[in-house]
C-alpha cells in the first residue's frame, strides 16, 4: 500500500472501471450498484472508527440515519442544496461529539461504548417510529413516523441539471473515493497516527502524552460525519428515508462488512460491503430473514476461518501473481512476513 505508483494506478483503474460500468449494464443494475457504493461509504466510516480507531461501535447506523433524516428534513425546508448536505454531516458529527464526550471523558469501558451506541440507535428508531402524527414536524417537514419521509427533494448538479441514474452512480463513486482519500490522508497526519496508536495501546498513548479521550472523540465524530454523508446519499437515492435505517439489521450489516473485509484496512470493508450486497441480491434474498441467515453464515465462516478478513488475503494476490510470473516457488510468498506484505 505504500507504493505510490501502485496506489495511483489502482485509483485510476477504479475510476475508469466505475466510469465504464453504466455503459455495459442495465439501468436497474446501475441503480443497485449505486446503493452498494453508498453503503460502502458507510462501511468505510466504520472501518475508520472501529478498524483503525479501535472504538467498537455496535450502533453505527445511528449516524447513517441521522445523516439521512437531517438531509431529508433540511431539503424539505431549505431545498436540496449544499446546506442540506452540510447538515447531513454536521448533525451526526455533533451528535457523535456529544455522545463521545460522555463516553470517552467518562472513561466508559470499550464494551459499554459498543452497547451504548447500540442502545442509542434503537432509541432513535423508536423515537422516529412514534412520530407519525401530523403534529410531529420540523419546520415544514413532517417526520412521518414508521412511514418515513417520502418525496425527499434530491440534489442537482451545480449547473442545475437533474442528476440521472448514471449521474447518481458517478456521484456516489466520487464521494466514496473522496471519503477514502480523506481518511487515508487523515491517518497519515500526526493526529491520525494517534488514532491508530490508541487502538494498539491506549495506556501507552496516554503515557506518551496523548489525550486519548479527545482523540477518540475526534475519530468518532469524523466517522459520524462520513456515515452521515452516506445517509445523505441514501436519502437522495430513493428520495425516501424511513426509520428502519436506524434498526438492528442495518447496524449488524455494517459490522459484518467490516469484519469480513478485515479490521485495520479501509479497502477490505469497502470491497466486502459491495460483494456481500451483490451476493445477497443475486441470491434473491432481500427479505430480512434470509439476508440475516446468509449474512450469519458468511460472518461465522469469516470469524472462524478468516479472522483477519478479506483484505490480508487479497493483499497476497499480487505477490502470488508476481512470483508465478518470475517462476519463483510459491513458498517464498507464503513465508513473507506481514511486515513485508505491508510494503507492497
Amino acid at each position: 500500500m505504500k507504493n505510490p505508483v501502485l496506489n495511483i494506478s489502482s485509483l485510476v483503474g477504479v475510476i475508469v472501471l466505475a466510469f465504464a460500468i453504466p455503459y455495459f449494464v442495465e439501468a436497474f443494475t446501475v441503480l443497485n450498484f449505486t446503493v452498494y457504493i453508498i453503503m460502502a461509504i458507510l462501511s468505510l466510516s466504520l472501518a475508520f472508527v472501529w478498524g483503525m480507531g479501535g472504538i467498537m461501535v455496535l450502533g453505527h447506523s445511528a449516524f447513517f440515519g441521522l445523516g439521512a433524516y437531517a438531509y431529508a428534513i433540511a431539503a424539505v425546508n431549505f431545498g436540496p442544496g449544499w446546506e442540506a448536505v452540510t447538515l447531513s454531516m454536521l448533525v451526526p458529527a455533533t451528535f457523535a461529539a456529544l455522545l463521545g464526550y460522555f463516553m470517552f471523558y467518562g472513561r466508559i469501558s470499550d464494551i459499554y461504548v459498543g452497547v451504548i451506541t447500540l442502545a442509542v440507535t434503537l432509541i432513535l428508531f423508536n423515537l422516529i417510529n412514534s412520530t407519525s402524527g401530523p403534529q410531529y414536524k420540523i419546520g415544514s417537514a413532517p417526520i412521518g413516523g414508521y412511514n418515513g419521509i417520502t418525496a425527499v427533494p434530491t440534489l442537482s448538479w451545480p449547473n442545475g441539471n437533474f442528476i440521472d441514474i448514471n449521474g447518481m452512480f458517478y456521484l456516489s463513486v466520487g464521494l466514496l473515493i473522496l471519503s477514502y482519500l480523506f481518511i487515508r490522508y487523515y491517518l497519515s497526519t500526526r493526529y491520525g497516527k494517534v488514532t491508530v496508536a490508541i487502538r494498539e495501546n491506549e495506556r501507552r498513548a496516554e503515557l506518551l502524552g496523548y489525550n486519548v479521550a479527545q482523540s477518540k472523540l475526534i475519530t468518532f465524530s469524523i466517522g459520524g460525519a462520513i456515515a452521515g454523508l452516506a445517509g445523505c446519499m441514501f436519502a437522495n437515492w430513493g428520495s425516501f428515508v424511513g426509520p428502519t435505517i436506524f434498526g438492528l439489521v442495518q447496524s449488524a450489516q455494517i459490522i459484518i462488512w467490516v469484519i469480513v473485509g478485515g479490521r485495520g484496512t479501509l479497502i477490505g470493508p469497502i470491497l466486502s460491503c459491495i460483494a456481500i450486497q451483490w451476493m445477497t441480491t443475486q441470491l434473491g434474498m432481500q427479505q430480512v430473514v434470509n439476508v440475516g441467515f446468509v449474512l450469519g453464515i458468511v460472518l461465522t465462516i469469516f470469524v472462524l476461518l478468516v479472522p483477519s478478513g478479506l483484505a490480508p488475503l487479497l493483499a497476497k494476490i499480487p505477490n502470488v501473481v508476481r512470483s508465478r510470473l518470475n517462476g519463483k516457488p510459491k513458498e517464498d510468498v507464503a513465508l513473507g512476513s506481514p511486515a513485508e506484505e505491508g510494503q507492497t
Binding site: 500526526r190 497516527k193 494517534v194 491508530v196 496508536a197 487502538r199 494498539e200 495501546n201 495506556r203 501507552r204 498513548a205 496516554e206 503515557l207 506518551l208 502524552g209 496523548y210 489525550n211 486519548v212 485495520g264 512476513s337 506481514p338 511486515a339 505491508g342 510494503q343
Partner: protein, 243 residues
Amino acid sequence: MSDNIILQTKGLGISFGGLHAVRDVDFVLRGGELRCLIGPNGAGKTTFFRLLSGQHTPTRGEIIYKGKPLGNLQPYQIARLGIGVKTQVPSLFEGLSVFENLELAANQTFSGLEAVSIVDETLERISLQDQRHTICQELAHGQRQWVELGQILASKPDVALLDEPAAGMTHDESLKTIEIIKEITAKSSVVVVEHDMDFIKLIGERVTVFDRGEVIADGTFKEIASNPQVREAYLGRKEAAVA
C-alpha cells in the same frame, strides 16, 4: 530549587483497601541524576512509579515536580510536562512497526524532519536499524524492552522512570541496556527500578531501597550492600525475587 531538585515527594502514600502499598515516602531526585530503586517483590516500586506518572491518585502526601505540586493531573498531562515511563510489563503499540512506535514518542515533543532524525538516531542507539519496519509483536523479548527505552530516548523527557528495564534479559543484553540507560541520562534525570543486585552494581550510582512500601535505606551501592536491614529485607528474600 537551589539544590536543583527536579522531582520530590513528601509523605507520599497510597493504600489499596487495608494494604499500604506505598507509605510515607520522602524522595528527592536532582537534575541529571541517575538513581536506582531496589526492593523485594511487592515492595511498592511499581506503585510508586504509577503515583509519579498519574496512573494512581495518592491517598496521602504530594508530588512536587519542578517546584510545583502535580495535583490531580491526568497521566497524559504529566507526560507532557516531561515525565516518561517505561512500564514493568512492556507496553508497546504491538501491531505497529518499530519506526512507528518511536515516531509516536518523538512526535510528542518534536515535529517534522527533526522528529524523523531523532527516530533514526534512536534506532541506531537501540541497535534496531534493520528492524525499523518490523512489527513489534514479532520482536524478541529483549528488543521489545529496547523499543520502550527507545521511546524514552526519542521523547527526551526531563524525568525518565524505568521499571525493570533489564528483566528477562541475557547478560549481554543487560550490558547493552545499561548503555542505553546511560544514554537516556544524557538528557533526562532517571530512576531505574531493578531487583537484580548485579545490575545495580554495574550501574554504580546512588541506590534507594524500598521495603513494604517504605524507604528503608538510601546510599551508595557499598553502603546499601553492607546495611544489615537491607540484607535482611532484600537479600533474605532474594530467592523469591529472582524469577
